[in-house]
């Protein structure tokens, strides 16, 4: 997937949800979104504020995961 496509899809999510911050429920929905839309699998450790706390951090996290593929 191209980086721009990744950013476009994260924008779609940004339009319906605020940044999760440290809220566990919101972090879990963000993790669900990432797995669902990008076909990635996250470990429990990866479902955290550092990776998914803001839409910007989510984008960086997803891009990094794709690069590592």
């Amino acid at each position: 997937m191209k980086p721009q496509d990744i950013l476009d899809r994260i924008d779609e999510f940004r339009n319906i949800r605020t940044d999760p911050g440290s809220d566990e429920a919101k972090l879990l929905e963000a993790a669900l979104f990432v797995e669902d839309v990008f076909g990635l699998r996250l470990t429990d450790d990866e479902i955290c504020e550092r990776n998914l706390g803001t839409h910007q951090s989510t984008a960086q996290f997803v891009l990094k995961k794709f690069e590592a593929r």
């Binding site: 496509d5 476009d8 899809r9 779609e12 999510f13 339009n15 319906i16 949800r17 566990e24 429920a25 879990l28 929905e29 963000a30 993790a31 669900l32 979104f33 797995e35 669902d36 839309v37 076909g39 699998r41 470990t43 429990d44 479902i47």
Partner: protein
Amino acid sequence: MCGICGIINLDGGPPPDKNLLLKMMGRLRHRGPDSSGYYRDDQVGLGHTRLSIIDLEMGSQPLCNEDGTLWITFNGEIFNYVELGKELSGCGHQFRTRSDTEIIIHAYEQWGVNCFERFNGQWALALWDTREKKVIFSRDRLGIRPLYYTFCNNKILFASEIKAIFADQEVLRSLDPAGMAEIFSFWSPVAPRTAFRGVYELQPGHYAILKDGCFEARPYWSIRFPMAGHETCQSESKNAEYLRELLIDASRLRFTRSDVPVGAYLSGGIDSSITSAIVSKYTGSPLKTYSIRFMDKEFDEGPFQHEMVKRLGADHRDFKISNEDIGRVFPDVIWHTERPILRTAPAPLYLLSKLVRESGYKVVVTGEGADEVLAGYDLFREAKVRLFMARDRGSAKRMNILFNLYPWMVRTPGKAPAFARSFFGRDLDLSDSGFSHRPRWNTTSAIRQLLDDDFQKEMEGVDVEQELLSSLPEGHQEWDPICRAQWLEMVTLLSGYILSAQGDRMLMANSVEGRFPFLDYRFVDYANQLPARHKLLALDEKHLLKIAFSDIVPQSILQRPKQPYRAPDAASFFNADNPDWVDDLLSEYMLKKAAVFSPKAVVSFTEKCRRVKGLGMSNTDNMRVVAILSTMLVYHHFIENDGEGRGDMPPPGPVTVIDHVSDSGL
């Protein structure tokens, strides 16, 4: 919208019985109270009761082509009949009426059975081709209009409703254990099965040809989804724009193609708010809206309805329904559903269509179908959450996503975490094609614990879940799991319950036609090709629809949590006004006679219901109550009695008669 019926001889026996045909038509009087008619020759009898909506003067049926070699009885609307008429005129066809019925005849002459692919509408019909000596049956793509048939003593009987088929005393009347197994799993029988042994329903999206005694059904359309990730258009804004155009056109067609005024249902949810807003904004017609309200605040959506009414400036009518109202009309409701149901939700819709009719309207546009086509049901959100859990079953965190489901509800999973984990945490097998529906099927199957042993054994003869899953189209493994869930929902709940028991039957019971813009096939085909995330983005249901119509529907309605349409169940039958029929049907004598449920188990269960007056009962127990009572009513109406007890009436006049059989021939 109308009622259709017919008798077809299979072996050159005596001509179809005129009195039977008239009796069948009489039983469909509610579907078409404006007039009726029949055609009869030595082999075929076609009956029709008419609810006149298009071409009020000339649209009587049965109707034929110019030389009388092709006859039709038709129930429904072909909304693109104007465009088809122009195309057919260009091919040299000439028309005597302005009706869509005549268009079908000429379309069949021009294109044969390929004509059905060209129709945009909702229909069930039978065409008698006297030249080729064959009868063609056809039904719309998603099963909006019903068509039943049975084989009996070398003849076929067909009708819009089973009660018309049962007008023939020779037709077997017994419950079909396999059909009942489907109801007690999926909420509805799956066509061609019905609740009755030997009575079949033509599948949605199919036509059938009867020739030389051979009946063969074939599909002309099917529900298809693309491979996940290979959807044609990934752009959210472009998809929203096109979805909007399609829905506006679908609503406009359904609102304007009528010679009588068209009203709209307004539930207070997103779907009917959008269709009403489209009508208001794009047709320029005055808008008449109707709503149900509930005395019980848990089910009432009044404030949202009124917000939308105010915004639209609609001429609005609503009425409040009590639990007692539901208990009172429930026997009538089951007379019309002709199958056991698991929720009382059709009952308020029966009362609503009565209000519509009494106010002088006979056509309404509703938001039906949006939840299936755009993944709006809670079941899809639950499936997504369970998929997330299933992808790492050892995870310490993932189970907690359950608490994101229904945080606004009194009985939210967050308040009963152990139960939620146990309920949603079962059957997490990602390779299971029925993954999305296992919780529902498991819950529904709890009804079976109350069944009579012998009936239970008969039901177990067919694995209906496996049968359904094996009918999933080739390549479904490559679909997004949400699309697979949508397919299951459309094939079971949509046509078998929402559009029939809760739709067509509750509307037609009071001679009202429903029209469903979300089920325009162009809209459905387009929605099916969308990336699944545009329908359900994370846990945001009907995502694209909200974007597409954010300018004409207020955010308070677009963003409100999905409230499933529900009505009070057990509390409708075990309250202070406990209706007499409840005690009668739940007596040990009646239960033994019907031989579906174990009298001992039911008596013990209903004692518990009476103690609590039907209040505070679990979801499963509420479902059991409705299942038992509706099954017993089906037994009472159609097996113990033959329908005459409800007052057989003659077909509505004036009656058009085209009879090629002399009386001496009978």
